[in-house]
């Protein structure tokens, strides 16, 4: 990244930070997310246009508010004839006015907004897109490309979800202690889903930015809820993955699996941040899903960088994770670790229960893992079949050519 584009990115960061705080502040008061976005949308667009070129103003919030207020006045003037929505806009203008009086000290309600977006009464698939839009100001087009949904459809669903937040009575509040960890889980899941989109689809143009945004949201949640171990666990998990981003491809763009990655390409500073977060998380509470997954990544890092024999520890961590989640994906990943400790035959036996699981039928990693295990056992015909299904289920070009190469190697052997 050049110096200029780095500065532009930093300016954009500040604009998104300020925008999200202002939207959250307004929406938490009026329950009207779309209205809050309308009130600030033009000012935000102006900020994205000008700040990267002219630099960030001294008080970004005040800048946005001033531009937004000017627009409110224009709109109110133009709207005289149109009755609908005028009251609402005037109310918003007043809210902004009051907030502007002590700009710089606007209460940060972003956490409350995130809890509203990830409320159990919101469709699970829309939670991450809602957070990306309301907290970060990403457009429906940007979100749609990451989620592989047509922009018009994404836009419609976002509008519907915001109407639902207002009409169904979804609260803008951080849940009480006894409910916090359960509800936080859905916020973390939404952010992690956004990260995974960016991570899995590394081949897609524009998608890595969603991963960056998710990482930033993870940091935001940790800063707003510093006592929650799972938030730290999730951020650590994302950082471990992020640290290996450059090593996931070789020079020709081909996919490189973890065991074959060049560790000198790993980002040490991100790994040590992840280790620190995981350590803090483990010290402050019982282990949840993200802490366990981060611990597994930590074990992989230790093995690859120091040669420590950590596979048995990985299997053990997966045992806990399986107990906690009962997830077929966890069972599958556990089996991959079992293969390293007890061999491929034991691993294949461990995934036998998945054979009739409908969820695995179109799950590419299942077929890829199965293919690798069968290949290790010399069951070439079955391995070839499984590789073929895995290739058919892959949308990432790099992964596809990697799997094709492995399948070809079966024939040569």
């Amino acid at each position: 990244m050049t110096h200029a584009s780095e500065a532009a990115r930093a300016a954009e960061r500040v604009a998104r930070d300020s925008y999200g705080r202002l939207v959250a502040f307004l929406a938490a008061r009026t329950r009207d997310v779309a209205g809050a976005e309308d009130a600030l949308g033009e000012a935000f667009a102006a900020a994205l246009r000008t700040w990267p070129l002219d630099g960030v103003p001294d008080n970004p919030d005040a800048w946005l508010l001033t531009v937004a207020r000017r627009r409110q006045t224009d709109m109110a003037r133009r709207q005289r004839t149109r009755q609908a929505g005028e009251g609402q806009l005037t109310l918003m203008a007043d809210e902004l006015e009051a907030a502007a009086l002590d700009a710089g000290d606007i209460p940060d309600r972003r956490l409350a907004l995130m809890f509203a977006c990830a409320h159990p009464a919101i469709d699970k698939g829309m939670r991450a897109p809602l957070i990306l839009q309301t907290i970060l100001g990403l457009t429906a087009e940007e979100i749609a490309s990451a989620f592989l949904i047509p922009p018009a459809t994404m836009s419609q669903r976002l509008v519907r979800a915001k109407t639902r937040i207002r009409d169904a009575g979804i609260p803008f509040a951080v849940p009480e202690r006894e409910e916090l960890s359960e509800r936080l889980q859905s916020v973390l899941d939404a952010i992690y889903a956004a990260y995974a989109k960016g991570w899995n689809e590394i081949g897609e143009a524009g998608v890595p930015e969603i991963a960056d945004e998710a990482l930033w949201l993870g940091k935001l949640v940790v800063s707003l809820l510093p006592a929650e171990p799972e938030a730290k666990g999730m951020l650590a998990l994302m950082l471990y993955a992020e640290a290996r981003r450059r090593a996931r491809r070789d020079d020709s763009g081909a996919y490189v699996p973890l065991e074959e990655q060049n560790v000198s390409l790993w980002d040490d500073s991100q790994i040590s941040r992840a280790e620190r977060l995981l350590h803090e998380a483990n010290a402050s509470g019982p282990s949840g899903r993200y802490q366990l997954e981060a611990a597994i990544q930590s074990a992989h890092v230790a093995r690859r960088t120091t040669g420590a024999p950590t596979w048995p520890a990985v299997v053990e961590l997966y045992d806990h994770l399986l107990e906690l989640t009962g997830s077929p994906v966890v069972r599958l990943n556990r089996a991959v670790a079992v293969a390293e400790v007890e061999g491929a035959a034991a691993a294949l036996a461990a995934i036998a229960p998945l054979e009739n699981d409908r969820r695995m039928r179109d799950y590419q990693p299942y077929w890829a893992a199965r293919a690798h295990l069968l290949a290790r056992l010399g069951r070439r015909g079955e391995a070839r079949e499984a590789f073929t299904v895995a290739v058919g289920l892959t949308s990432d070009e790099a992964v596809r050519s990697y799997l094709n190469a492995r399948r070809a190697a079966l024939t040569e052997a």
Binding site: P120, A168, G169, I170, P171, A173, P175
Partner: protein
Amino acid sequence: MRFMLLIHHDEAALAAANQKELWADYGAFNEALSKAGPGNSAGERLQPSSAATTVRQQNGKADVLDGPYADTKEQFAGYFFVEAPDIDGAIAWAKRCPSSRFGSIEIRPIVEQQGNWK
């Protein structure tokens, strides 16, 4: 906000339950509901869907049908009202309601004040 909670029972599951226990639980639930706030109200229990009649006007002619609006496994069975600051309060009451064990409870916010029927 005011919410109406619409109870839909799996009538077979309900019939199989220990009736004495169930209606004792219901008594306790209704008691707790109305004690918890003046905006809450215990609502009413309906006769099973076998007692339902459905009327529909078409082309100026009224059809009177024997049976419920929709022939589904879970049937509308009763309702109650909850006053709560947001949906979380209503969800908490839905979870407490004994009917949630024998079907589902739909939560619908009530249109406030200048009810817009247009």
